[in-house]
């Protein structure tokens, strides 16, 4: 009996270890979090009572790819935000990239007039759970926080060259009560900088 329990513990521990390195896959249920936003309020997904899902985007100030997508993120929130709000999370270590510190997040949100919440993953506990590796990196969750899509916003960094709007298509599928046809895509992004131990 003891052996069985030990074996079970090992399996559970192994499972947890794998999860922390690889993060969520499509179909997994995301954990809620509580993070400080640029409005100086703590935000949890549970607070968004009217939402039918969430567009969680790991993004930041310093990364040119994030900057290139800012206007598209603003437009997505304007179009779908009532049902599927954008939750932007900056996962970077502010010591490595001072332009990604909390004060600069506030400045950027103000400058660009972000209507969505821009949260700071202070202590870098949230992004590893998701398995985010870069900015921007999108995770679309449904109402039950089940991950429905992971990856890119669309298929080109240059807005004029976009021919596939992966994220918007996935949101519309969810809205129509369907499963997204494309559930994972890739894009080039800035590697997330982890604080030195």
């Amino acid at each position: 009996m003891k052996k069985t329990i030990l074996g079970l513990v090992c399996i559970v521990a192994l499972g947890a270890a794998t999860l922390s390195t690889n993060g969520y896959q499509v179909g997994d249920t995301a954990e809620d979090f509580s993070l400080m936003g640029v409005d100086d309020q703590e935000h949890s997904l549970a607070d968004y009572e009217d939402a039918n899902g969430f567009v969680v985007i790991f993004t930041c100030n310093h990364c040119p790819y994030s900057v290139a997508y800012e206007d598209r993120i603003i437009a997505l929130h304007a179009k779908y935000g009532e049902d599927y709000p954008v939750i932007a999370i900056n996962p970077n270590d502010p010591v490595s990239y001072p332009s990604d510190n909390f004060e600069n997040m506030k400045l950027r949100a103000e400058e660009k007039g972000f209507k969505f919440d821009y949260l700071f993953d202070d202590g870098q506990q949230v992004f590893p759970k998701y398995g985010a590796t870069k900015t921007p990196h999108v995770f679309l969750l449904d109402k039950d926080l089940k991950v429905q899509y992971i990856g890119a916003i669309d298929n080109s960094t240059e807005e004029s060259d976009v021919s596939k709007t992966y994220l918007a298509d996935a949101i519309e599928s969810l809205r129509d009560g369907e499963t997204p046809k494309v559930t994972s895509t890739k894009a080039i992004g800035c590697g997330i900088k982890v604080a030195k131990q």
């Binding site: 040119p64 590796t133 870069k134 890119a152 890739k186 080039i188 590697g191």
Partner: protein, 158 residues
């Protein structure tokens, strides 16, 4: 006018004119650098960008690696993923850092269609390095803190 023209041709001051070929399509880059490879050559292909601080930090380690392997069948390609509008910035950075390795700019914005062709495990984050040895591929999605760390990964790719 003559002076402006002359300056433009010679380049100002000590700015070295390092050629940077621009690829708008991944397929053209692939056929030039990832196809018909020689089995006895080690290829090290580093993906970087001027705006990526850890990428810029590790460039000298790659330069050192190329220098140390000069007498061997070895080829280094530094693939900038900067936007095409930043070409001059790429050129001035490699001149400033004294980079002699071959540098190209891959401007194909449809990365979702070519990331897997470099390596299926690549999430798309940079820096990232592809090593091809004996027609086998080894992929490292990481940044290097020292020359030694880079050299270890290259030696490990057997």
């Amino acid at each position: 006018m003559k002076w402006i023209l002359l300056s433009a041709i010679l380049g100002f001051g000590n700015v070295q004119t390092n050629q940077v070929k621009v690829y708008d399509e991944f397929s053209a880059f692939e056929s030039d650098y990832l196809s018909n490879l020689s089995g006895d050559t080690t290829y090290v292909i580093n993906f970087w960008a001027t705006w990526c601080a850890p990428c810029v930090k590790e460039l000298p380690y790659f330069e050192q690696l190329r220098e140390r392997n000069e007498m061997k069948p070895f080829k280094m390609i530094l693939v900038s993923l900067d936007f095409k509008s930043k070409l001059e910035g790429v050129k001035s950075l490699i001149a400033k850092k004294g980079i002699q390795s071959e540098v190209v700019l891959l401007a194909d914005g449809r990365a979702s269609e070519w990331i897997d062709l470099v390596d299926s495990t690549w999430s798309g984050a940079i820096p990232a390095t592809l090593v091809i040895k004996n027609n086998k591929r080894y992929f490292y999605e990481k940044s290097y803190e020292s020359y030694k760390e880079l050299e270890e990964d290259i030696l490990k790719s057997e």
